[in-house]
């Protein structure tokens, strides 16, 4: 039988870099095909080429045995190919039904169209309220709207780019069920993901990419996480958590949060972090973790309670004041909120504490270079020349610059919000090593993560949030995925805050 889609020798270049080289891919109807690889390996690009978002420079793509040349997503749509990207493409002010039907013409009167959407929603167990405004829905529901849109168009192939990146455990499992239902009904799914366990669970076949080339394509049942990682990296890698350090309970806490309240929180939050301790902040998406971080960091104004750094009260301070007290915040959305692409690495690093390299309001460039060279060396950032713009660095180097930025003024507390999101398996463990190293040096770390194994593997104390309130503080042996999950879903006892 003719495969639904066949890509031959596809290549793509961005600027001067080769994103894809000589890639072959074959997709059958009703197949769930997963694409894995390190950051920059090209899996996202391949997915976008399939869906017509990006045009290949070389090679060919055939759909149903016929050569196709997609110049815009619209062309691919006509052949029944859609993409659900990481950045959701929905119009917040319009309802679910309106978003689903956007751009689909000839659907007759509004009533029948709406009913069609409702029917599809229940048929695939998506359970959406089609009259609700999309902007009011949580991320997981919004993603379902995108899937519904793909269905409403009678899509034969849906590309999903990192769909579970922002979903919590239960929701991710639900999504996998939906994907299996799609496959059973004959829809092909291309699933691009970092989460190897998911890939193995939901995929029929897996293609591993490395440096823009296909390493191999094989059935998922023939692979394991280790075999995939080895293929991704080209060598063996060790995947284990570093040793946990026991903090000194008698020392003054680096961070003490007492009865903290905010506009976006439903209750009070209270916990402490000792020097050298990694404390995990766990909970489902939307449970209020980032809100807590922002309150501590001064990005949002608290409405009550106390925040103490090394014993000093900083509640109500602005971000620049909080930074000067030794707090760093690595935000969730790194690309959007972390680096300034058109500035050099040095300039990015010093931004959080410009006062240190300024005299009489003017920036002392020599001093800036001196102060930043240490931390950049330590993290092995090697730009082509010192003043090169960060946008010319590789993804990995950019990430290092970001870490350098938050570490150069030797903070006392590092708030890391989803530090390994979008990071491939090998690099993840590198980050764990780094965090452990920093903690060993006396820094306190507040680790916010949706990945339970990270939380369990790194933290010596876990604060669990559910529905915008703190529901538990777990220590020692209580820290396990099971317990955390139960608390995150609303159960659990609130232990006395340290």
């Amino acid at each position: 039988m003719v495969p639904l889609l066949k890509a031959r020798a596809v290549s793509k270049q961005f600027g001067g870099a080769q994103a894809l080289v000589g890639v072959d891919l074959s997709l059958d109807r009703g197949e769930v095909h997963c694409l894995v690889g390190e950051n920059g390996a090209g899996k996202s690009t391949l997915g976008k080429i399939i869906a017509g978002v990006v045009q290949p420079d070389g090679g060919s793509v055939e759909v149903d045995g016929k050569h196709v040349d997609y110049r815009a997503p619209r062309d691919a749509l006509r052949d029944g190919i859609t993409i659900v990207e990481q950045e959701l493409s929905l119009v917040p002010a319009m309802t679910v039904a309106e978003n689903v039907l956007l751009g689909i013409r000839g659907r007759g009167r509004a009533g029948s169209a709406r009913r069609l959407v409702e029917r599809l929603s229940s048929e695939f167990s998506l359970d959406l309220d089609v009259g609700e405004e999309v902007g009011r829905l949580p991320v997981a529901e919004q993603q379902k709207v995108e899937i519904l849109r793909a269905l409403a168009r009678g899509s034969r192939l849906v590309v999903m780019d990192e769909p579970t990146a922002r979903l919590a455990g239960g929701e991710a499992a639900n999504l996998r069920k939906i994907i299996r239902r799609l496959a059973e009904s004959g829809t092909t799914v291309v699933y691009v993901s970092h989460f190897l366990d998911e890939v193995l669970e939901v995929g029929d076949n897996v293609t591993v990419l490395r440096n823009g080339r296909v390493v191999r394509s094989s059935p998922a049942r023939h692979e394991t996480e280790e075999s995939l990682v080895t293929a991704m990296l080209g060598r063996e890698a060790v995947l284990g958590f570093p040793e946990k350090v026991c903090p000194d309970p008698s020392a003054i806490p680096v961070l003490e949060v007492e009865d903290l309240r905010g506009r976006k929180l439903d209750g009070a939050v209270g916990f402490a972090i000792q020097p050298g301790q990694i404390v995990g902040l766990a909970g489902l998406v939307g449970s209020g973790r980032t809100e807590v971080a922002r309150l501590i960091f001064g990005a949002d104004r608290p409405t009550g309670g106390r925040v103490r750094i090394d014993g000093e009260d900083i509640r109500g301070a602005s971000t620049s004041e909080v930074i000067s007290k030794g707090v760093s915040y690595l935000p969730e959305s790194r690309k959007d909120l972390g680096l300034f692409m058109r500035m050099s690495s040095q300039e990015n690093v010093t931004l959080s504490a410009l006062g240190r390299v300024c005299r009489l309001g003017l920036v002392d460039r020599r001093r800036e270079r001196r102060e930043t060279s240490d931390v950049l060396e330590r993290l092995a950032v090697h730009p082509p020349h010192p003043r090169a713009r960060v946008e010319t660095l590789s993804g990995g180097n950019q990430q290092k610059v970001l870490f350098a930025k938050w570490l150069w003024h030797s903070p006392r507390l590092l708030i890391a919000d989803e530090p390994t999101r979008g990071v491939d398996v090998a690099a993840k463990f590198g980050i764990y090593e780094l965090l452990a190293e920093l903690a060993a040096g006396g820094m306190g770390v507040l680790l916010i993560s949706s990945e339970l194994d990270e939380i369990v593997g790194l933290s010596s104390r876990v604060v669990v949030m559910a529905r915008r309130r703190q529901v538990a503080v777990l220590e020692g042996d209580d820290i396990c995925e099971d317990r955390i999950l139960r608390c995150a879903f609303g159960g659990g006892v609130t232990k006395a805050a340290a």
């Binding site: 961005f14 972390g338 058109r342 993804g395």
Partner: protein, 342 residues
């Protein structure tokens, strides 16, 4: 660090060194150069053409006149560049200019020369602060805020003058605009001073760097500890200050003021200068020298048009066309020389 340490450190933290943007081809670099310095080339070309085409052009008198005529726009445009780099837009400069002019004239007549000058410049600062507060505290989009503010300021100017022409006669007032130092009018010296001050601010001062990041990504700037509201507000204050100075100086030069000066034509000229110079109107990057080139370029063009006996009524038509051409060229240039992402 030796090679193996580098490799292991980089793999520890990051990914392989493959990725977007590592190498740039020569063609791309040439395009980038063209985008970045195209305005210089075009300016020099025009300068040469005009020198050749007209004998009257390359004389000291004519060149000084050119500087004089464009100095006030230049002052406002330099400050305006700071606003744009910080991601804002001030379309009220024409109105601030008008009200400052009118107030300085009125107080010069009614109270005294010093009062007039203080009132003019002071009102510019106050209006700038007003704009700044509406944008930061009121959280209004700067285009809309200064649009509304501009309407208010211009109408106040109308009210103050009662639709009359004000003519301050005092010599000490008009001296400012009409006198020279070392053969060059004061207003040109003020332009030069403005260039120096704003250049230092933008390129070397902490304020300038913070303004650039605020324009590039305000939320990221805030999370990096930059006091975003303060920086943005300050840019509007500086813009108002500059427009106030321009209003006073020009009134002093011409000896008269009425509420119809300034207006959208003025705003157009200022924005045109900044755009033609090559600074990005979206913010995040820009340079004062570019704006200066833009001002002079526009001055050259209007100068040239007049030498060609084109009716000055059509000046703005050409300025409008120039804006479109300049911005289109920038956009096209960026698109071709830009980098993609994986």
């Amino acid at each position: 660090m030796n090679a193996s340490e580098i490799t292991s450190a980089s793999t520890t933290l990051g990914v392989g060194l493959v990725g977007a943007g590592a190498r740039r081809s020569a063609g791309v670099r040439l395009q980038r150069f063209a985008v970045a310095y195209g305005v210089v080339v075009v300016f020099l070309a025009l300068f040469v053409v005009m020198s050749v085409a007209s004998d009257a052009f390359l004389t000291k008198t004519n060149l000084l006149n050119l500087l004089e005529a464009n100095a006030d726009i230049g002052i406002v445009a330099c400050a305006g560049t700071l606003v744009i780099v910080a991601g804002g837009l001030d379309v009220s400069v024409g109105a601030i200019y008008a009200l400052a002019a009118v107030l300085s004239a009125k107080l010069a007549i009614d109270v005294g020369v010093v009062a007039g000058i203080v009132a003019g410049i002071g009102s510019g600062i106050v209006m700038g602060l007003f704009n700044g507060l509406v944008v930061t505290v009121g959280r209004v989009n700067s285009f809309v805020a200064t649009l509304a503010g501009g309407i208010v300021f211009q109408s106040v100017a109308q009210v103050v003058t009662g639709a009359n022409l004000l003519t301050p006669e005092q010599a000490s007032f008009t001296d400012l605009g009409r006198n020279s130092f070392l053969g060059i009018k004061w207003v040109v010296w003020m332009f030069a001073a403005t260039i120096v001050v704003t250049s230092v601010l933008l390129a070397r001062a902490r304020f300038g760097r913070e303004a650039s990041v605020v324009g590039a990504n305000p939320e990221a700037a805030r999370l990096s500890g930059v006091r975003v509201a303060r920086v943005r507000c300050m840019t509007f204050v500086l813009s108002g200050f500059a427009a106030g100075i321009a209003g006073v100086v020009v009134t002093s030069q011409s000896g008269q003021a009425d509420a119809n000066v300034g207006g959208t034509g003025y705003v157009l000229a200022v924005i045109a200068a900044i755009a033609v110079g090559g600074s990005s109107l979206r913010g995040g990057e820009g340079a004062i020298w570019r704006t200066v080139l833009g001002v002079l370029f526009l001055g050259l063009v209007t100068n040239g048009l007049h030498l060609l006996d084109v009716n000055p009524t059509y000046d703005q038509l050409f300025v409008g066309l120039l804006i479109l051409l300049a911005v289109a060229a920038q956009v096209v240039g960026r698109r071709h020389a830009g980098s993609g992402t994986t």
